[in-house]
Each structure stands twice: as C-alpha cells, then as structure tokens.
Subunit: 114 residues, 2 copies
DNA sequence: CTTGATGTGCAACCGAACGTTGCAGAAGGT
DNA sequence: ACCTTCTGCAACGTTCGGTTGCACATCAAG
C-alpha cells in the first residue's frame, strides 16, 4: 500500500512562494503576475515563472483579459493536492502510532520480567 | 490569520527522495546512507546529502554504531511536520468550501431573477 | 494620433539545490 | 596483513528560484 503521490503536484506546493501565491489567489480571488507580486517579497518575473509551474501541474489556469493575464485556482486540482497532503499525513501518523505502541509493548515486557 | 508554517520543515519533506527516505526509515526501522540508497534510485552520496538536510531540520537523528552511522526518524518532529500538512490542508479546504458556497449563492440569486 | 503609463514576455546572469563520479580513509572479517 | 565494506570529501554538471534589463503590447489622455 505505498503512498500514491504525484511528485510534480507535491513539489509544486513544496515551494513557499508558490504556496503563498495559492493562498493569495484563494483569499483575494483571481489575479495577475503583477498584482500577486505586489503582495510577495519577489519580483513579477519570479512570480511569472512560478505561475508557469503551477499551470503546468494544473493547480492554476489563466484567462487573457485585455492586456493582462488573469490567473485563478483550479479548485478540483487543489482539492486533489489537499487529498495527497492528508493521505501522506495519515500514513505517517499511522506509522508513528504503530512505533509508539511497539515501544510500549516492549516496556510492558520489561516490567513483567523485572 | 496567515498559516504558521516552518518553511524549512516543509521544504525538507517537499523533496520526493527525502519523503521516500522517511517512509523507508519508518517502515524498516533505522538505517544508514548505504542501506537507504539500496532502496532508492539515487547514489549513496545523494542520500548522505539528504540526510544532512533532514538532520538540520530535526526530522532525523544519527547514532554512530561501529563503522557505520545509523539514522532514525525523530518522531516528535515528524509529528509536527504532519500537523503542518494537516493545518495547510484544512485551511485550503475551508477556502475551497467558502468559494463553492459563494458560487451556489450566486446560482440561487440567478434562479430567483429568472 | 501621439504620448505616456502600465502590463506582459524574453534573455542573460547568479547562487543554491540535487545529482553524479572519483578517490581517500577508517573499521570489520578472514 | 589483506581484502572487503562503509564513510567522507571534492569536483563537476544541471535544474531551480531569483534578479536585472530591455523590447513589445495595450489602455487612457492630451
């Protein structure tokens, strides 16, 4: 039952700047590279490159509007990403619980033989 | 109410190879750079570098054992990482739900005026 | 329509990250 | 003592995140 995780999707949200960009698009609605960069500590060009990455993995889509290119979050794809976060979190939690219960079992055995 | 996320911790588990290394250490218990690299598509040296990163953020700790250096997961720190995954997942889920309900409200208003 | 402001796109460049190969050295087994 | 095996260090190449600089498109006035 190995974890089914799309590495590209995960890596896309692994970058702090991209994560903040998604936050911004969710909180303030669709925006352009320029409007996003105003709320971020990086230049417009850096934001543009990140938007290309996000678009490539389908987390974001663009719609040309006049002279500007407006980006919005693809909700279905973001939901998939969230599902993967939860899935990995759940797996690791399960493993951690198992290790903890093993440790407790050993403790018990040790108490018995004391 | 911006998300409180440790970027270093998140970035550490953002790399696919490091995530698999953690998986391996959890599933098969403590191991060395050499044993880990046997289960991974990268060389021992690459694994060593990743172990340095994981050690730096406290996700893993090493105990010298003879000529080899055995690494094991720091469970408390991994639990923190999982908590951050859940936290971001929950935030995004909330925002997605809010957007969805907004969309439905608009639909309703449109139906009324039809 | 021309001018100026604003938004986008492309290219060159830099440092850090991820990966490789090659080699030196330390610790085991026989 | 020897050979195997594991670790550590250094050099190198490529990709990634970020910057600056400049050319080009579009809108709004004058």
């Amino acid at each position: 039952m190995s974890t089914v995780v799309d590495d590209h999707l995960w890596s896309a949200i692994g970058d702090p700047t991209r994560r903040r960009m998604l936050d911004l698009l969710l909180a303030e609605g669709p925006g352009t590279a320029t409007t996003l960069s105003a709320h971020l500590p990086v230049t417009r060009q850096a934001v543009t490159k990140h938007l290309v990455v996000l678009d490539r993995v389908g987390l974001v889509r663009s719609t040309p509007a006049g002279r500007e290119k407006r980006y919005h979050v693809d909700e279905a794809q973001l939901a998939r990403a969230v599902a993967q976060l939860n899935s990995v979190g759940a797996l690791w939690n399960a493993r951690l619980r198992r290790i903890k219960s093993l440790a407790e079992a050993i403790q018990q055995a040790r108490n018995k033989s004391r």
